[in-house]
């Protein structure tokens, strides 16, 4: 337990800085464009840190760090995917086109971008609904991660930790919009970087250096619990047996679902629309790659190595000593690190949770207050993508939407079981990937984006993902009980399908649907994705 007074002083300084940046955001928020896309003029370092800090939250540090402690450091493949797909592919192949298209169409949210690109109100409503249904799960997981660590470190009531944490973040999101979110993200990203770098360095020092630490972990292979061993685990520094249930979980859920899912996350896509030009995105790539390497590389490596620490100290592996995998990293930090570092790490973790939470709240708030509100307001009228007169009015509606969604997320947080952080993250990313990725990529790269194909792809991807989750993927199908109730068995299919992540089935289905419908349904929308001199979108009948 850290000295409470010291922590309170440091935390007050941090909260004061956060509120100061939130105030700065509030002062600079003069229009809805400021509230929603930060005026499209954000500094590249802030874009990179904001993107990284939003992308990587307590889920990455506490959730996946805990998974590494349980299943081993093969999770490093996710670090590789986070850099290759989450930074290089996302910024270079998706980010630049998103920025250009967003500016050309004057889109202010992800749903707005999809709607304007396809000239379809259905796309706006459907993407907003998927966001509002799926995102509270992820938001709740992040709330739990932050609150658990505050509870453990300060020995305060869990309910108080959760509610005060949610209230502080909601305050600056509601008042300062995306400018406040991105400014505070940058501060929080900086704290995360320093905290995780120190955590990695101190852990290596504690365990005798890089090679001795890994050698000790390698030598513990015979301590793998029988249940995991029979599922295919061979040790903490070796990959699971090819084709085993654990291998499928590792590859399909942790590496592919989360690794690819990043490309179509609405809260990250909006970051590209805040860039002034492509130069900003090029510069952000340089900062983003290093940032992701340090944050995730440190979290997953330290997660695995906690087994060495607990084994040397208590003769037990991490899961044996701690129990709940979401508590392994916090317990390790609290027990092994000097007080000062515990405080730095606590701030890093708070920062990670707050940065992602604020972005999710902002995304849900604008989805509810702008996208859905606009659709309801304009119901009965034909969709007009150039009609932006409602944007100013949606400012207040987005603020109300944010308040509403924080309440929903807190309620969901009380319903979720333990050990949920990494799983909830993977579920949300998988859903976004299956529902949005094909249609999103299609509108970025096609001069003639096919509205019908996008609608069909979104519906098929979403429905397939939900069906596979409810009736096949054993972790969810057995927990929800719907499959058992309807069909008298926990899953409709047998192994290995029960451990294949829903996205592995839903994404190809979504892509296939898009391709088939493109060939059978000629598009009538022509969109010039290469903007010229900031002119308005040129759309016409093809």
């Amino acid at each position: 337990m850290v000295d409470t007074l010291t922590f309170v002083i440091v935390a007050l300084v941090y909260v004061a800085l956060t509120i100061g940046l939130g105030y700065l955001g509030w002062k600079r928020t003069a229009s809805s464009d400021d509230f929603m896309v930060a005026g499209r003029n954000v500094h590249p370092v802030i874009i990179a840190l904001s993107y990284g800090a939003t992308f990587l939250s307590t889920s990455a540090i506490v959730g996946f760090g805990g998974v590494s402690a349980q299943l081993g450091i093969g999770t490093l493949w996710l670090v590789m995917m986070n850099i290759l797909v989450g930074i290089l592919v996302a910024f270079i192949l998706f980010g630049k086109r998103t920025r250009a298209l967003g500016m050309k169409l004057k889109a202010v949210t992800f749903s707005d971008l999809m709607a304007k690109a396809y000239r379809s109100r259905f796309m706006q409503v459907a993407t907003a609904v998927v966001i509002l249904v799926g995102m509270p799960l992820y938001t709740a997981a992040i709330l739990i991660g932050g609150a658990r660590f505050i509870e453990g470190t300060l020995d305060i009531n869990y309910d108080l930790a959760l509610l005060s944490f949610a209230a502080i973040v909601a305050l600056y999101v509601i008042l300062g919009g995306l400018i406040a979110v991105m400014y505070t993200d940058a501060l929080q990203g900086g704290i995360m970087f320093i905290g995780m770098f120190i955590l990695l360095a101190f852990t290596m020092y504690l365990l005798g250096g890089v090679t001795p630490a890994f050698e000790k972990l390698t030598s513990m292979a015979d301590m793998v619990p029988a249940g995991l061993s029979s599922a295919g685990m061979t040790g903490w520094t070796s990959f699971p047996i090819l084709g085993s249930p654990l291998w499928f979980t590792f590859v399909t859920t942790f590496i592919l679902s989360v690794g690819i899912g990043v490309l179509a996350q609405p809260q990250l896509v909006v970051r590209f629309m805040t860039a002034k030009d492509d130069r900003s995105l090029n510069r952000a790539v340089a900062v983003g790659g290093i940032f992701v390497l340090v944050i995730t590389g440190a979290a997953y490596t330290v997660g695995g190595l906690t087994n060495v620490y607990f084994h040397e100290k208590y003769g037990m592996i991490a899961t044996e000593y701690v129990g709940n995998i979401d508590k392994i990293i916090p317990t390790f930090v609290n027990e092994s690190m000097p007080d000062l570092f515990v405080i730095v790490f606590l701030l890093a973790l708070l920062a990670a949770a707050m940065s992602t939470l604020s972005s999710l709240l902002h995304t849900m708030g604008t989805a509810a207050g702008y996208d859905l509100w606009r659709a309801i307001k304009d119901r009965g009228k034909p969709y007009d993508p150039s009609d932006n007169k409602n944007i100013p009015k949606s400012f207040r509606a987005s603020q109300i939407g944010t308040v509403l969604m924080i309440v929903v997320s807190v309620v969901v947080a009380y319903q979720l079981p333990g050990d949920i952080i990494a799983r909830a993250t993977a579920m949300f990313m998988g859903l976004c990937c299956a529902a949005f990725l094909p249609a999103f990529a299609h509108c970025l790269y096609s001069k003639r984006p096919n509205e019908m194909a996008a609608k069909a792809s979104l519906v098929v991807g979403t429905v397939t993902w939900f069906l596979w989750t409810a009736f096949v993927h054993i972790k969810e199908s057995s927990a929800r009980g719907l499959c058992q109730w309807l069909f008298g068995r926990p899953s409709l299919l047998d192994s290995p399908w029960t451990v294949v992540d829903p996205v592995i089935i839903a994404l190809p289905m979504s892509i296939l649907t898009l391709v088939v419908v493109i060939f059978v349904w000629r598009s009538k929308v022509v969109i010039d994705t290469v903007p010229e001199n900031n002119e308005m979108v040129s759309m016409g009948k093809g």
Partner: protein, 46 residues
């Protein structure tokens, strides 16, 4: 000797240590890309 070559930082499984190598490699590519294109404006800006 062969097993010594295959071991990196005390990790025997190439499926695991190669993930470290690739992660560091791609982070370096990000840095190099960003630096080389620091002032380069894209084609999408007209």
């Amino acid at each position: 000797m062969a097993s010594e070559v295959r071991r990196l930082f005390g990790i025997d499984d190439p499926w695991v240590w190669s993930a470290y190598v690739l992660s560091i490699g791609f982070a370096m590519i990000c840095a190099v890309y960003g630096i080389l294109n620091w002032n380069k404006e894209g084609d999408l800006n007209g």
